[in-house]
């Protein structure tokens, strides 16, 4: 009888841990996929290294700043390019800022799209710039939605009593 009780206890424990473990595994897989797809690069890992018990929300905070900052810049860029006489210096300055901040948080695809944009800007190629802007917006919305999902998964893990798995080099 004792054996079966222990067996039951083990099962219960396993299913409880199993739930958390599953969540952690899903989180790790989701995160790895983002690196594999080139949506995030190693700079994102640098951000995570700066997070600790004294600053448990650092990554979310920086990324949130990036979101609001970028949305503003994207609006500015739309406006810049809609002008009668496009001020390319101004456009370039805005893209430069966006490239910088996306690079700082590891949003690789956004950063790369900015680099392409700057080339068209230098050529003063407005249709090219407009196409690039669309591309940047797409990449931005993608990384935004992915990161928001990632944060939600992390929250779930933490809420279930787990801790976010130690950051390792992404399995590429």
């Amino acid at each position: 009888m004792r054996a079966s009780l222990e067996g039951e206890k083990q099962q219960t424990d396993q299913s409880m841990d199993g739930g958390l473990m599953q969540m952690q595994r899903r989180l790790a897989e989701y995160r790895n996929a983002l690196f594999k797809e080139g949506i995030l690069d190693s700079q994102y890992l640098q951000l995570q290294e700066l997070q600790d018990e004294s600053n448990p929300d650092f990554v979310v905070e920086v990324v949130s700043l990036f979101f609001t900052d970028s949305e503003k810049l994207l609006n500015d860029l739309s406006r810049d390019l809609a002008q009668q006489n496009v001020d390319f210096k101004r456009v370039d300055a805005h893209v430069h800022q966006l490239k910088g901040s996306s690079s700082s948080i590891g949003a690789e695809k956004v950063k790369n799209a900015c680099i392409v944009f700057r080339n068209f800007c230098q050529e003063k190629n407005i249709p090219g710039c407009l196409r690039c802007l669309q591309q940047i917006k797409q990449e931005f919305l993608l990384v935004k939605s992915k990161l928001e999902t990632l944060f939600k998964l992390e929250q779930q893990v933490v809420a279930a009593g787990g801790s976010i798995p130690t950051v390792q080099q992404p399995i590429l």
Binding site: Q43, D52, F58, L65, R90, H96, Q97, S101, S104
Partner: protein, 234 residues
């Protein structure tokens, strides 16, 4: 005298990007530095100027004190972005090096662009290092030697009593008007208008007369060192 406590160095970080300011602030704090962040070169000069002369009544008053007379906070290193609207990091570097009360403060330039001529220019103008963005913890770890060296120099000066001719001429010049072509960040974010200062208890490093027994490098630091991290961003 027992083992001296690790001095708490104060870094002034200058960057117009909100995201980068937050990042550099965290990088510096996690490395146990006291940090002040500002979003422009002119604000940086304002802050530095306020250190030189506590009771400057008018903007025309020429401060005539030496760094060792600081009443309050000291700045042990300035780390600045290169590309900023209005006063660039290079402009700021020049102003600091032209100022007799500020020129000993080591300056480090950060840039997202790997332009050799830019790097050379900065190093020639007296920058200690040129760091490629995004800045990493490993980059920040390289800053301490610069602060230690300058501090040792200052301690040595203090010990040798008088500074021969130290006159303040610098911040008499009003900073150039900030041409904000890009009004995005400054106008939208009031909190970055103010100087953010992290208050941490600091061990008064000015009054600590540490005997500099071993000077790691000579009195004329090698300015031609080029430091890169990683590859070009293009």
């Amino acid at each position: 005298m027992g083992a001296a406590a690790e001095p708490r160095f104060h870094v002034l970080a200058v960057d117009d990007s909100l995201v980068d300011r937050k990042l550099i602030e965290r990088l510096l704090k996690i490395s146990s530095y006291q940090v002040t962040t500002v979003d422009s070169g002119s604000k940086a000069l304002e802050f530095l100027g306020s250190l030189v002369n506590d009771d400057r009544s008018s903007s025309d008053a020429l401060p005539s004190v030496s760094p060792s007379d600081h009443q309050g906070v000291d700045v042990n290193l300035i780390i600045t972005d290169y590309c900023m609207p209005g006063m660039t990091g290079y402009d700021l570097l020049k102003k600091v090096k032209e100022s007799s009360s500020l020129r000993d403060i080591p300056v480090v330039i950060m840039s997202s662009e790997n332009v050799p001529s830019r790097i050379t220019r900065c190093l020639e103008e007296g920058a200690e290092e040129f760091i490629l963005k995004p800045v990493r913890l490993s980059d920040v770890n390289k800053l301490r030697p610069h602060m230690m060296r300058t501090k040792k120099l200052k301690d040595q000066e203090q010990e040798s009593q008088e500074e021969p001719e130290r006159h303040g001429d610098e911040i008499g010049l009003p900073p150039p008007p900030c041409q904000h072509e890009l009004e995005t960040q400054q106008s939208q974010d009031p909190q970055t208008q103010q100087i953010q200062q992290s208050q941490q208890p600091k061990s008064g490093n000015n009054s600590n007369k540490r005997k500099a027994i071993d000077v790691e490098e000579g009195l004329s630091p090698d300015r031609t060192r080029t430091r890169y991290n990683g590859v070009a961003t293009f």
